[in-house]
Every structure is written in structure tokens, then in C-alpha cells.
Assembly symmetry: C2
Homo-oligomer: 570 residues x 2
């Protein structure tokens, strides 16, 4: 491609509304153009990147035995009523009424549509399993669309659906998809993690999210560097401490801690480590106040807490509710001496503590050297209540956890018979008995991947794309193209030879200052650059620079194609 025949429209400044670096850079580089809130046109440069992502996904899905189809964006309400989601789905479902006043939606997902096709076509166990996928435009009416394509309203998804005669077959395809997703993100050139995810009411271990790792990611992930273990922080289990509780030391004592309302402040004041303090969090659940105990350096995990008996819909207690139950203001709460009717739920770490510090249920005072079984009863419930922290033991026993942040770009899920039962997607089994099919679904956020790749690859000069999805693999920047016949001849020859080697090369044939051309090619993230200038040409050389390189490398004219092929790993 020559820039003169392309539509290149970079901006000096990113529009001020962009918050996230990928959003800013996509706008500046001209990959996308905003149309309305959460709606973006993929400009020619961005579409090149998108198509490369699509191609890799498509090739790997085909290799995994999935068959591509294309379902409509607009879906009739009847099918969603049949699955029960027409009522359940919130306002993110963009509902549409046609000219005949019939109800439709702009599909955010296609379980209903694919179920309707499959139940009409497949009748026998002999026709199973089947995996179908599409790369298709979806809509989710986000209340606050932002972060550019990362949380746009209209977006491209690869969504796949598999149908099986039994759960074992589903598990095999699920495992294949898990490996396929790994290959996809490897080929895309992204650092990623497969993360165990919540399966909600369905239960089991049949759900994984795939996260691109980036500091700006919305999700906190706990992972074990020495194994495959990774989970959303909300889900990662904090094991009970491996060491038993120490024996109690000196007697409990009351200490004045005026104005010290946090564990940090109390630990500072008393000169004890934060890990020796216990915070008591008052919550209301089932109209009763409960006390949740966590170590001072730990954070409550609300997802875990909500799974405790009777706590499904807990909320934090108000100051009045606290005063009424404990006779104290927040900041000095503790489990000692409270009414026996107040349930106490202790995190596993707290249950293993001895000689700890906690609030005295009296403003301005804490208790020190507190011990369960001596100064207060053993906690009524001991459970995993907290977020894991770096250094916690990995639940798989393979080492200790680290934390990172991720952007969810893929999700695989064993739906089992959730849809096939309500929508009667049945087959006749070997015994002649009709049974609902087992079903899996497998999504990849195609447009989101582009944003995530940039969150993972950028510097002060712009985007640093992996070569696999860069809009161009190599930029040729001639100096004085419009003046020097020598340069012109050399660059045309090189351009033709790289093209015939199958390299995706862009020839910057604009009549621009070299600095402006360099800046554009760096901004849009081309990973390799060759400068063709008269001086070096006379020495039989080109000037090469990788997008992340500090230094230039001079390469011999004859070896340019081979040099680039090696850099591209081909």
C-alpha cells in the first residue's frame, strides 16, 4: 500500500473526551472516528488491524472444527420470550419496534437464534456434536459507554456455540476451545491469562475468561507464576493460613486510641504490625446486624460475603443501626463483649490470629492482646471473606499468588442445558429417547482486542502493535522521493521485492518532511521501519529501526528482505 493511495488521517492532539490511552491513541492515529456515544467508525487504518484480528480468530476457529455462519443483528422478541431473557435483560438490551409494532432487539448475543436454527436442523445423536460460530456486529446499550472501543455500544464479537449429546462431549469441546483461545491470543502477540470465572447459578468449573494483561485493565487478576492458576480477584480463594494459631500471651488490655479510627492509625499509634489488627465491619443481612471480621491489612470481598448463609443481599449498616446494636460509633467496633445474638463471621486469617488488636465498642478505645476462646467466643462462622493479596498461597498448591490487571477479551462457558431446556433444543439419543442438548458458548471481543492490544503496547510516540495485527508490518520511508531518482528507483525496487516476499509493507510516498513521516508511522504502530536516503544508498545501505529500538541499524540493500523476514519470524 502507498500512503498516497490510502486514507491516512492522523491528528496532532487527541480529543479531550478520551480518558484511556488506547482511546486517545486510536483517535489520534485515525484508527477510529466517533459517530455518537459509544459508536465508532473503523477508518481504513483501523479496519486493517481489525481484519487481521478477525483472520487469526477465523483460522483458529476453523482449525478447531467450528463452522462459520452469519446470523441477523435484529432478533424477534418471541425467541427471547421463549428463553425467558426478554423480561430478565435490563436496559442494555436495545429494544426495537418495527413499522408493524412488532418487538425486536438488536442482539447483544445469539443463544436464542442459534438454538432456533439447531433445533430445526438437528434431530439425532448421530448429527452431534456441532460447533457454529460467527463474527458479527452486536449492540449493548451501555448506560455510560466509554473507553472507546473497549466499552462501545456497537461492537464486533466472535461468538461460538457448541451442541452435544452429553456433558463429557461438551467438556472435550470446551477443552479444545480453551486451547484454541490460547493459540489465538498467542498468535495475536498478546500477553494474556486464562482466568477461572464465576459460573453463577450453573456451578461447576466450566467457565474461563481470557484477559489481556495491562495496567489499565478493569479487572484485578490473581495468578500463580509457577502454574496455570489464575482467577478474578473476586473469585480467587484465600486459603486458611497453614500455621496453627499461636497460644495466647498476656491478658487483654484496653488502650486509649482517641481519633484513631482505622486499623492503620491504630497500628501506627500502638506500634504493632497492621497484620496484628482486626477490623469489624457491620452489615445488615436478613434485617439483622452481622459483624464481619477481617485482618487490618485485608479487604472485604463482597462477592464471597454474599455467598455466606443468609448474606445473599447484605448491605453495610448505617451509623444508627450500628449505634443501636453495639452502642458505639464506627471506627471503634469489635467483637468482644457484644450481644450473643449478633452473628460474628470471621475471615480464615482472623480465625488463626492470637493477641490481636480490635475496637473496644467504645469511642476512643481499642482492645489489645485479644484472643478467641479466652476473651470472646470462637467466631460463629469462619470463611473466606477477603480478596487475596500478593504472596498468598495459590489455591492449586503450586506456589504463591501475584496480582495483575486484565482486560477481558474472551469468555468460554459451559451453558449445559440452560437454553436447550427452555427452548426445547432436543435430540433423540441412542435409546430413542428425546433429550435436551448440552451446550457451550465461546466469545471473543474482536473490536475490544484492538483497544486491549494498545493498552498493552504503547509509548510516548504512539502505538506499538504486535506485528501480527499492525496495520502494516513494515514502513518504507524514502527521503527526497520527489527529488532523487536514485531514491525513487531504490524504494520502488525494495517495495516490490518486499511485497513479493509476502510482507505487508506501506510505502510512504507523501511529499512530507521526514520527521512528519517518521512520527506518523510511529504513531500508528508500524513495528519495522526502513529509511531510504541518498547518502546511505551510495554506500549500498538502508537504515533500519524497530519500533522499540533505541538505535538505528544499517543493513545492506541486498539483504533487506531477508533481514525483515527474520525480524518478522518468518
Amino acid at each position: 500500500m502507498r500512503t498516497s493511495a490510502f486514507y491516512l488521517a492522523t491528528l496532532k492532539e487527541a480529543p479531550s473526551e478520551a480518558e484511556l490511552i488506547s482511546h486517545k491513541l486510536m483517535l489520534r492515529a485515525g484508527l477510529i472516528k466517533p459517530l455518537a456515544r459509544g459508536l465508532y467508525s473503523w477508518m481504513p487504518l483501523g479496519l486493517r488491524v481489525l481484519r487481521k484480528v478477525e483472520r487469526i480468530v477465523r483460522e483458529e476457529m476453523n482449525a478447531a472444527g467450528a463452522v462459520e455462519l452469519l446470523m441477523p443483528a435484529v432478533q424477534p422478541a418471541e425467541l427471547w420470550q421463549e428463553s425467558g431473557r426478554w423480561q430478565k435483560y435490563g436496559p442494555e438490551l436495545l429494544r426495537i419496534r418495527d413499522r408493524h409494532q412488532r418487538d425486536y432487539c438488536f442482539g447483544p448475543t445469539h443463544e436464542e437464534v442459534v438454538c432456533d436454527a439447531v433445533r430445526r436442523d438437528l434431530k439425532s445423536y448421530r448429527q452431534l456434536p456441532v460447533s457454529l460460530y460467527q463474527i458479527q456486529t452486536k449492540f449493548r446499550d451501555e448506560i455510560r459507554p466509554r473507553f472507546g472501543v473497549m466499552r462501545a455500544r456497537e461492537f464486533l464479537m466472535k461468538d461460538a456455540y457448541s451442541f452435544h449429546a452429553d456433558a463429557a462431549c461438551l467438556q472435550r469441546t470446551y477443552d479444545t476451545m480453551h486451547r484454541t483461545y490460547g493459540r489465538i491470543f498467542e498468535r495475536l502477540g498478546l500477553r494474556f491469562r486464562a482466568v477461572a470465572a464465576d459460573t453463577g447459578q450453573i456451578g461447576g468449573s466450566g467457565s474461563h475468561e481470557f484477559h489481556v494483561l495491562a495496567d489499565s485493565g478493569e479487572d484485578a487478576i490473581a495468578f500463580c507464576p509457577s502454574s496455570d492458576y489464575a482467577a478474578n480477584v473476586e473469585l480467587a480463594e484465600a486459603l486458611a493460613p497453614s500455621l496453627p494459631r499461636s497460644t495466647a500471651g498476656g491478658p487483654m488490655r484496653k488502650v486509649a486510641t482517641p481519633g484513631s479510627k482505622t486499623c492503620e492509625a491504630v497500628a501506627d499509634l500502638l506500634g504493632v504490625p497492621l497484620e496484628r489488627t482486626v477490623k469489624a465491619i457491620a452489615v445488615m443481612a436478613g434485617a439483622r446486624l452481622h459483624l464481619l471480621l477481617l485482618r487490618g491489612d485485608h479487604k472485604l470481598n463482597e462477592v464471597k460475603a454474599s455467598k455466606l448463609p443468609g448474606c445473599a443481599e447484605f448491605r453495610f449498616a448505617s451509623d444508627d443501626e450500628i449505634a443501636h446494636a453495639l452502642g458505639c460509633e464506627p471506627g471503634y467496633l469489635g467483637p468482644v463483649g457484644i450481644d450473643a445474638s449478633i452473628p460474628v463471621l470471621a475471615d480464615r486469617s482472623v480465625a488463626a490470629m492470637a493477641d490481636f488488636v480490635c475496637g473496644a465498642n467504645e469511642a476512643g478505645f481499642h482492645l489489645a492482646d485479644v484472643n478467641f476462646g479466652r476473651d470472646l467466643p470462637e467466631p460463629g462462622i469462619v470463611a473466606d471473606l477477603r480478596n487475596v493479596v500478593p504472596g498468598d498461597a495459590s489455591p492449586d498448591g503450586a506456589g504463591s499468588l501475584e496480582l495483575c490487571r486484565g482486560i477481558e477479551v474472551g469468555h468460554i462457558f459451559q451453558l449445559r442445558t440452560r437454553y436447550s431446556q427452555s427452548m426445547k433444543v432436543e435430540f433423540i439419543d441412542e435409546a430413542g429417547v428425546p433429550r435436551p442438548m448440552e451446550m457451550g458458548c465461546y466469545g471473543i471481543g474482536i473490536t475490544r482486542i484492538v483497544g486491549a492490544a494498545i493498552e498493552q503496547g504503547f509509548d510516548e510516540r504512539g502505538i506499538v502493535f504486535p506485528a501480527a495485527i499492525a496495520p502494516f508490518e513494515v514502513a518504507l520511508t524514502p527521503i527526497g522521493l520527489h527529488k532523487s531518482e536514485l531514491v525513487r528507483a531504490a524504494v520502488e525496487t525494495l517495495y516490490a521485492s518486499l511485497q513479493s516476499a509476502g510482507i505487508d509493507v506501506v510505502l510512504d510516498d507523501r511529499d512530507e518532511r521526514p520527521g512528519a513521516m517518521f512520527a506518523d508511522m510511529e504513531l500508528i504502530g508500524v513495528p519495522h521501519r526502513i529509511v531510504i536516503g541518498e547518502r546511505a544508498l551510495e554506500r549500498g545501505e538502508y537504515e533500519y529501526k524497530g519500533r522499540r529500538d533505541e538505535q538505528l541499524t544499517m543493513i545492506a540493500r541486498d539483504s533487506a528482505a531477508a533481514f525483515l523476514m527474520a525480524r518478522l519470524g518468518r
Copy 2:
């Protein structure tokens, strides 16, 4: 591809709601599956066809210098208000309200969106011309969607838009697109015609439709077999007869024609050729009755009539209006002896007639041997008022016209400044003056092409696809694959060799009766078939049959790939 790894789901019977042959066959072959009125899923088999169409369109658009982008399906009302189309567009525009009660539409076309992008990016004549295109999902809320994908509500379009500094540049790109469309439909393997189309208020010759020729086509087309001339029948000009009017013969005479109210009946009764009769059609325009005169064998062209002075919104006169103006009932109307205030508009053919027959304005009577200038004044206006008929002279002087029917699959149009003025898509010209860009648009109905190709290619056994867009180019049908090691080894070798030759081959490895396999491959339109059976194998042969062939051809095993490459024209 092996059928065992594919999703093949043919039907014995087409669903009864399908009227058109292509609709029936697409359902039976499993190319598409209905989801709701005018909404279809493209099943794996259909998607293969669709993708081949897309690829050809994309390659040719790129070769023509157009650059691909991808704009959103959902478009904000504001832009359509700016262009004035939010009000003008009827209920085919699917209007959507989002969760914040803002107005959007599901775009049936993208002039507004592309104008918005271009006006923000391009400022100078130096950046022009630019051609942008996309292949994208559109929606038109048809009141009565039917004919399957031919008039679906959701459909895929290739829509392109070009921007220019002046009309001459627009004309050059328009001509390039005209040639590009020709190449596209040639490569698709379709019989087609580029047809001059109405440019409405814009005027000029800057619009052509591309029609796939098929008997079931909705549009009647007049074309000249010995030149490129083609036009919608509504638009094709009927030239004035080349021969001058004959001199008048015997005197006008009144003849009794009781009950003969049509030209056909009168011609029969009087034993004169139909071409010697004149029919008078009474219309109301501007609150006055006008009389339109046509030869008895010609049909009024209402589009042409509406372009006559004062006739823009004409309607047919009622019996009362006719009685009031002419004192006669319909069936016996004529231009002789009428009030001089009644405008008479004669078709060019009528103006050249002598000794003709027309109504006497008296029930049960006609006049014969009527002549202008003698029996009545020369007509006030002589114009082209009729549809062309086969044998009419071609307007380009290259021969005579024939008629055929077509399905519109492409449309190119010089929009000029219709959108750039209302939406302020301006550039600074060489003199530093801001001016609206000249604009062209170029559409191809991607999904519709598949239906049109089938309307043009089918027989009693199913679809006959051109090889370029067939779901597979070659079907291998082994006989006894699951029993004969000889057959298995031969077919696997052949399959591998055809694949490595780049042939899109399907291996039917199902354990089905040969007849069922043959029927499926014929139904889905695979153009070439090779049968691998033990008997022929022992003689070193395969059995070949082209989709349209009556007879089998035996081919030597070693030459199968070369034989097929020759048949595929490669």
C-alpha cells in the same frame, strides 16, 4: 472440506411460504434459515457463497483505488436531520430510541455518516479525490418483505462514496466504477446489463443500475443487442418514427362500433391493423382535462407523461369528468371535434400517423381515415409518451431494441453536491475558496446477488451456481467409502491433490446412499462432480459430470486435477 465436518442440512421440501424459485432453493439447500419476517441467518453453506461474492467485490473495489472502512449500523438522528432525510424518509427507516430516549436509526445507507467523517478529516483540494467503501449490514423496514434475500429487511451492502474537487473528477471516478462493476459481475459469472437510470431532481446522465438478467426480475429493461445501450423501460426513449407521415387518403368516415371499447376490438371489427388505431387517454392535470394520444398497440409511460409541462401530478380522469368535458363515455374517446381548450398531447408515433382510427366521442361509434391538419388540428404537444416495444429503434442509433427482465443488484449515482451542501462537506480549493465537494455513491447488494444468481441458474434438480461463487467448486462422491479400502485410498489422494492445486473441493464422506449424495450436491449447486467407484477405479478411471451435463465423462485418474483446472478455466 469434508461433509462430515461441515454443517449440511438440506430439506426435502421447500417451506410453502416461499414464492420465488431462488427463495425456495435457498431454503431447501440450507443456504439460509428464516428467523423472522425478512430476517435470515446465513447458514454455513450460504455463507461460503456470500464470502466468495464479497471477496470478488472487495478485490475489484481495491483495484479501483477505493479504500475500505466499516461504519456503524446504528446512526444518530442528528446527522439525518442535518441532511434533511430524518423527516423525508418513510417508515422503511427503522427508527430506534435508546435507553436515554435519544433517537437513532438502523442505517439503510451511509451518506450522512461518511460525510461526517470526511468533513472532519479532509480540508484541502490536495487531499481529493477519495473513494471509501464498506461491506456492511443494513436494514430497510420493508412493508412486505418477501422473495427471501431478494427483498429482506436486514441485508449486506457494499456501499462506496467518492469525494471530488470538481465534477470532471467525479465523472472520471464514476466511469472507473462503471467499468469496475462490469468486471465484478463478469467475475461473478452472471449475465447482466448496465442500465441507464433516472437521476430524479439531480438530472444529467449520472446514474446507472446494474441488473442481473432473469425472467423473474422485477424490472423490465430495454436493451440494444448490438450496442451497450440499456435502460429501464420507464426511461428508454421511444424515438420518433424515421419515416415521414403518409399523405392523407380518403375522407374521414364515421363507423358504428357498438360494444367495441378497446383498440383491439375496433381493429378486429374493422379489419385494420392495431397500429392504425389511436387511443385517447383522458387525464386530469392542473384541474384541467388533457387528452393523451397513443397508438393502439402502445402503452402509456406514466413517468414520461409526468414530465410533460403541467402534468407533474396528473391522474386519470373519472367517468364524470370525461362526460363533462367530452360528452361521452370512455371507450369511444377521440381528439376530433373537441373543445379547443382541451390540451391534446400526442405520442411521437401518433403524430406520424395518417388515415387512423379513433373514437368519435359518441358511444358506439369510431372515426376512420382520420388525418391531422385535415380532420383535426395538429396536436398541441408531440412528445415521447409511451413504453418502448421490441423492434423500436435504439436511441443510440445502433440497431433496434429488445426487452428483458432484470434484478437490480448494483447502482452507481452522481450525487453531485446534494449531501455536501446540506452537511457542509467543504474543501478549500486552489484559490483558497471553500467549496462543497462533488460526491458519488456506488452500491452493490451483496446478499441479493446470491438470490439473483440462483434466479439465473437453476434447473429441476436445484441450483446451478457459477463456479466463482459456488459453495464448493468440485464435489468428490465416493461409492462405498466406508467399505472399500481401494476407494478410500483413491479419494483421499485425489482430495489432497485437488486441495493442493487450490481447488475448493468438498469430499462427501457421509455414509449415505449414492443417490442421496448426488442429489445433495446437485441441489446445492456444485458445478463439477467426480464419482470414485471400485469398478471404474480398477480401470484407472473416475466418472466426471458437470452440473449441466447430460452425459458422464470418464477421466483418467492421473489427469483429474488437470482436467478440473481446465474446466474451471485456470
